[in-house]
């Protein structure tokens, strides 16, 4: 029996040592990179000064043309992330503050994402390598049901989120292979798609008094940042557009911009403007909020 327990012990020891070693190797590589995605670009950054930072989901990422802000002399970066929920948006802002960024204005897209307080695993995974590196990330994730295993079991977080921070991402990071995520100061232009499905049904969505939007408001207030919360356009054939009225009722400070660009020729899909539409939308935002 003793011999058997030694055998089991050896297996467990090898497993544990490998997990520690791989955890260390993965974390070290990810800690050196700041050019492959917006999360690491913030986490591994030095202090920056910005006139405008844009936050939100893909509906921020594809709708706010940074270049148009820059033309007005406003130093701008679009940190909208496809798929992100306000859970991750709030964390990204906290990390910017933790890294002593000086930000004058934050534009946050607040529309469909208000209906959700859960995390988005795809975006959440990108924070995993930095869990032990930042007190802010640890605190933000503490209430997640799988926090304990993600935080304490070595390498477990890389297994759980292997699509985002697994071997492939690690290998490409090691080679310092760039992505186009940070091009155009974070704005990602979409083309016109004639086959796109130009209808949507959002009747089931209900906006919440979202705790992460509340966090964003508090952070901005505490750090003297001008917060501009806006809605963004949808295509013409959407069922349940009264959702936006509910948003307005819940948060009167959110500015209504869902109707400023109309016509499906300006859309790439029902929820996303194409580049032409995004330019119209951004121009309107700049005129209304930065020129008046």
């Amino acid at each position: 029996m003793k011999q058997f327990l030694v055998f089991i012990g050896k297996i467990l020891l090898v497993l544990l040592l490998s997990a520690f070693a791989l955890d260390f190797i993965y974390t070290t590589v990810f800690a050196q990179s700041e050019t492959r995605n917006k999360v690491e670009n913030v986490i591994n950054s030095k202090p920056h000064n910005y006139d405008v930072i844009i936050l939100g989901t893909s509906r921020a990422n594809n709708h706010f043309v940074s270049e148009l802000f820059e033309k007005e002399g406003l130093k701008t970066f679009n940190y909208g992330m496809s798929g992100a929920h306000l859970f991750e948006t709030s964390l990204l802002l906290k990390l910017m503050i933790e890294r002593n960024w000086k930000i004058k204005n934050i534009i946050v897209e607040t529309d469909l994402n208000l209906s959700n307080e859960k995390r988005d695993d795809g975006t959440f995974g990108r924070f995993m390598p930095f869990m032990h590196q930042s007190e802010t990330i640890t605190e933000h994730f503490k209430k997640e049901p799988d926090f304990t295993e993600l935080y304490y079991v070595p390498f477990y977080r890389y297994i759980q989120f292997d699509a985002k921070v697994g071997f492939r991402a690690w290998y490409k990071t090691l080679l310092n292979e760039p992505t186009n995520t940070l091009a155009n100061n974070g704005y990602y232009p979409l083309g016109f798609n004639p086959k796109a499905n130009m209808k949507n049904n959002i009747e089931s969505l209900v906006p919440l008094r979202n705790r992460y939007f509340e966090e964003i408001k508090q952070i901005c207030k505490a750090n003297n940042i001008n917060l501009i919360a806006v809605t963004t356009p949808m295509c013409s054939n959407v069922k349940g557009m009264d959702y936006f009225k509910k948003v307005k009722a819940l948060y009167p400070e959110i500015k209504e911009y869902e109707h400023v660009v109309e016509g499906d020729q300006y859309f790439s899909s029902c929820g996303h403007l194409n580049d032409k539409g995004a330019r119209l939308y951004t121009t309107k935002i700049i005129e209304d909020l930065f020129k008046k």
């Binding site: 490998s18 697994g166 492939r168």
Partner: protein, 475 residues
Amino acid sequence: MLFNSIEFLLFLPTVFFLYWFVFKNQLRAQNVLLLVASYIFYGWWDWRFLSLIIASTFLDYFIAIQLGKTDVSKKRKFLLGISLVGNLGMLGFFKYYNFFVTSWIEAWSSVGITMEASTLNIILPVGISFYTFQTLSYTIDVYRKEMQPTKSFIDFAAFVTFFPQLVAGPIERASHLLPQFYKNRTFDYQNAVDGVKLIIWGMFKKVVVADNCAFFVNKIFENPEAYSSGELFVGMVFFAFQIYGDFSGYSDMAIGISKLFGFDLMVNFKFPYFSRDIAEFWRRWHISLSTWFRDYIYIPLGGSKGSQWFQIRNVMIIFLVSGFWHGANWTYVAWGLFHALLFLPLLLFNLNRSHLITKSYGWLDFAKIGVTFLVVCIGWVFFRADSISDAFQYLAHMFELKSLGLSLFYKTNANLMIFGLSVLAVGILSLQELFWVIKKRDLPKISAFGALLLVLLIFFMGSFKNQMDFIYFQF
């Protein structure tokens, strides 16, 4: 409780510790412990269904005692009848009631007669087909006077519910497993190490091979029209490896866990995808079920004796029943029929024993393996599809060969990553099994270094995010 769950990771060492350290050399206490542990293991899903197992256990225990007391043929038949009706009645009600009701209504509506009947919202108790067959084998063996009824209710109940193989087999024969509960068991280092290695190998098949393949299989079978012929072909092959990794992985783990407690279970899979014809496939696939059907249905029906018509009838019965055993859906019956049609020519031309497992492989055999694998894969489409028409549509679309593109597998980073893992896992599995087949092994034999390597592969390649239930639990 799943073998690949955190709960089981705590459950197994606890039972192991109590078994070998607290109740060491106390046979009765060890059997009681196994019984209690098995009830906890099963009750973890739904404690209400424990009542079914307990009812089945009581029924067969007392029937067997009564069978042991009488030689009167009529009375013996009557007692066996009670056991068959009781056990198959429970199985039939929980597994097939809704199927028969809806099939009956559909049959009448096809000739223009509308009928109304209500189906029931019945939950299928996990593993009911497995433990029902296991306990039936006991009563039938006692009826045939091939074994003596046991007097110990604890031993019998522990045999019926033995947790390593309770929910997905191997379906043990009473004559093989039950006597092991009567004997003192001493800890054997080599046996236990072999058990751990088998558990690791089974876990590799489940979490690395099956669960990675499942990611694409589920996508493709959910909406086959959306995919190219090439993607459908890969989906079909991946399902073949998913079901093999899933089911044989469970069997390997069951055999391995049993070894930790000093028990020996029967081999359930002998590298079936290296079969040279369908007859050999059935000598290598789900052996505990196919031999059960052979011994308790096929041979009593006359087996391969008698006229050709009798032989054909018996083969059809055995394959259709085998298909139906898997689930209450015509797709399983179609799968059984498909295999029967592949098997019959071999039987009629007396070729069904031309590839016995012990026969060595020649170069030409590898072509036969490829052809057999392909037809087995086609059969799996019927097994996996939601309906027979879906299966035909899947195959028709696949053989259209309109597009061979494989863009699904590299459309996103995640897809490419999982596809790479799946191909690598299937490659490792196939090469390793080829080695064992050539060495004529019945069970995997893994070195200590190999076991360590597998542990690392499970850890780093395992699909923990897309963890699936074992497919055969639903049967």
